[in-house]
């Protein structure tokens, strides 16, 4: 057995790595083939992590305006009577439940809308005037509500609805009069297109938004049917949701609770299936890649027995020889890991594009993927390296 003697030779690592590259170049195509497994393994792991990263960002986008600490309570009818919540109870929610920071009543419904000769059917959303900016509505033309607008018959028109209400050559513009239900409203703003968020009460693009107080006239029932409650970040949305649901309960309505967290949890559970599959592919590829590296290195050791013998004769210690081969396999694996990481990012790019997601790179995946590949190279390079260091120099030198 060799002893753990103090380092007798101080070959600089840079030179060892330089030699490793030269040796790998000589082995050429065979090295490249060994890389393939490592490449695919790293690529799937990098893709896995980066897709996870992008999906996370996409999920957060769904809650960009309302935040992940929001619970939506929605009343659905139990019978003939229109469902809804008592506005006074809604107003008292923050006072009655310490976990609720704010509770916003919203009325949604549908109505026939006409402007001039154009008529369409659109969603009606009644919300407190100040809430329009909070949910991310922005005017393309005109303006949003002002506080004073709460009781005025003014309306914001979503992009899609505005198009349907525009006649050729007569675009719907702020200032136009529209009929919602049987009531006249003045258009004060045409909205920019808004992205659909997870707990929006309605698709704003296909709606007309009016101040909450006015919406009572045009929507059946005239009471809020949706409450958006902003919670303390530490609160458990499921528990608070049940509490609020109990406070708001009434015989006309069945109450559905949707929390952002629950939504994310469901999405994550779906994602986990994909993740596990990709992780398995990655792990198996890395394993196969590692065995490939070991194979190439063992072949290299056998073919280079004379070189090993010579190096031993001129003073390479067993440790020098081990280091040489381990650095070679690690270099091989790291090279594969680098290319694999790039390939993985490329794959993510196409996945993101085809899903309509915004591509972004979680930069930690690059060193991580490459590092894992290098580690595989180290582990699987160990056996060939030990084999090399145990060769008998004389027998090695005589090998043909």
């Amino acid at each position: 057995m060799t002893q753990r003697a103090p380092a007798t030779s101080g070959i600089p690592l840079a030179e060892i790595i330089g030699e490793a590259f030269a040796n790998l170049r000589v082995q050429g195509r065979r090295s490249a083939l060994a890389l393939l497994g490592i490449l695919i393994g790293t690529a799937s792991i990098v893709a896995l992590l980066n897709i996870g990263h992008i999906a996370q960002l996409e999920t957060l986008k769904l809650f960009r305006h309302l935040g992940v600490d929001t619970v939506q309570l929605q009343a659905t009818p139990t019978g003939e009577m229109p469902p809804g919540f008592d506005p006074d109870v809604v107003a008292q929610l923050p006072a009655r439940d310490p976990d609720v920071l704010r509770a916003v009543p919203i009325i949604t419904g549908r109505a026939s809308i006409s402007a001039g000769r154009q008529t369409t059917d659109a969603g009606i959303v009644g919300m407190p005037p100040a809430f329009a900016a909070t949910v991310g509505l922005a005017p393309r033309l005109g303006r949003l509500f002002r506080p004073i607008d709460n009781c005025s018959p003014v309306a914001l028109v979503g992009k899609g609805t505005a198009e349907k209400l525009s006649a050729p050559g007569a675009e719907l513009l702020p200032g136009a009069a529209i009929i919602v239900g049987n009531y006249g409203f003045t258009v004060i703003g045409i909205l920019m297109p808004t992205a659909l968020e997870a707990i929006n009460p309605s698709d704003y693009n296909e709606s007309v938004i009016v101040p909450l107080a006015c919406s009572r006239r045009v929507v059946a029932g005239g009471v809020p049917n949706i409450v958006l409650a902003k919670l303390r970040p530490t609160a458990d949305p499921d528990i608070v949701g049940q509490r609020l649901s109990a406070m708001l309960a009434n015989p006309r309505s069945a109450i559905q609770v949707i929390s952002a967290r629950t939504y994310i949890k469901t999405m994550n559970a779906q994602k986990a299936v994909h993740s596990r599959m990709l992780a398995a592919v990655g792990a198996i590829s890395l394993l196969v890649g590692g065995i490939g590296v070991m194979n190439v290195m063992l072949m290299g050791v056998m073919e280079r027995r004379r070189e090993i013998g010579l190096r031993a004769a001129i003073g390479a210690t067993p440790r020098d020889l081990r280091t040489m081969f381990i650095v070679e396999s690690a270099t091989l694996a790291v090279a594969g890991g680098l290319f694999g990481a790039l390939l993985g990012l490329l794959a993510t790019y196409f996945v993101a594009r085809s899903s309509g997601w915004t591509f972004s790179i979680a930069y930690y995946v690059l060193p991580l993927g490459t590092g894992v590949a290098g580690l595989v190279g180290l582990i699987f390079g160990l056996y060939p390296a030990i084999t090399a260091s145990r060769l008998k120099p004389i027998e090695a030198l005589r090998a043909e």
Partner: protein
């Protein structure tokens, strides 16, 4: 000085050992050019491997200078090979992808000498063996005789006390062989380095200062030339 004391070596399984060296003892003075002669199977290669610290004896001692070699430590024997010994092999054993000077400089790598310092030293050694103009050639671009000179320069670069040559002319034609012999002899004189050459060629052995003849693992003759 190189000294062997009752060196024994056997191959084969422990239960049925085949003795190869049966108690070899001799000493070789510094600066001498000594041939170890014997037919194949006489144990001369085994002896060379033990002197070269590439194999360990079963019994007995090898002394380099005043110190007995500790064969138990592979790191220690590697260090001694690097510092005190130089090897010349029948088949040159140059690394094909390295240029002549890089082959010559290889032993210095294992001393941790930086590349910038290795090159001038290698070039000086190549000059000494008459190949200064071939420093940047690959071994495949050199003739057999030139390869063996490169190998000799490699053996010399570490300023060894002892050069071990295993049939150094075995792959060379007779003219080149004689040139190689003259070169070895000249170097041993000028550098005061001990050369031990293993050969089965009696005529080459005649040209050495001393001949140790082996047969069946024993020294049967030890002749000093006039």
């Amino acid at each position: 000085m190189l000294r062997l004391k009752e060196v024994e070596k056997a191959y084969g399984v422990a239960a049925n050992p085949i003795p190869v060296l049966k108690g070899i003892s001799f000493s070789i003075e510094n600066g001498s050019f000594c041939a170890i002669l014997g037919p194949s199977g006489s144990g001369k290669s085994t002896l060379l491997n033990i002197i070269g610290l590439l194999d360990h004896p079963d019994r007995g001692e090898v002394l380099l200078g005043d110190n007995a070699v500790n064969f138990a430590s592979a790191e220690e024997t590697a260090r001694l090979r690097n510092r005190l010994l130089g090897f010349v092999f029948q088949s040159f054993q140059l690394l094909p992808r390295l240029r002549a000077w890089e082959n010559v400089a290889l032993p210095l790598l294992y001393r941790g000498i930086p590349k910038a310092d290795r090159r001038p030293k290698a070039l000086a050694l190549l000059d000494r063996v008459g190949l200064g103009h071939r420093a940047d050639h690959l071994p495949s671009e050199l003739s057999g005789g030139q390869c063996q000179r490169v190998a000799l320069a490699r053996a010399l670069i570490g300023d060894p006390q002892l050069i071990l040559a295993d049939e150094p002319t075995g792959s060379l034609d007779s003219g080149t062989s004689l040139e190689m012999m003259d070169l070895l002899k000249d170097l041993s004189r000028r550098l005061a380095v001990t050369i031990v050459m293993v050969t089965h060629d009696r005529q080459l052995a005649e040209r050495c200062d001393r001949r140790i003849e082996l047969l069946d693992g024993q020294v049967i003759a030890d002749t000093v030339a006039m």
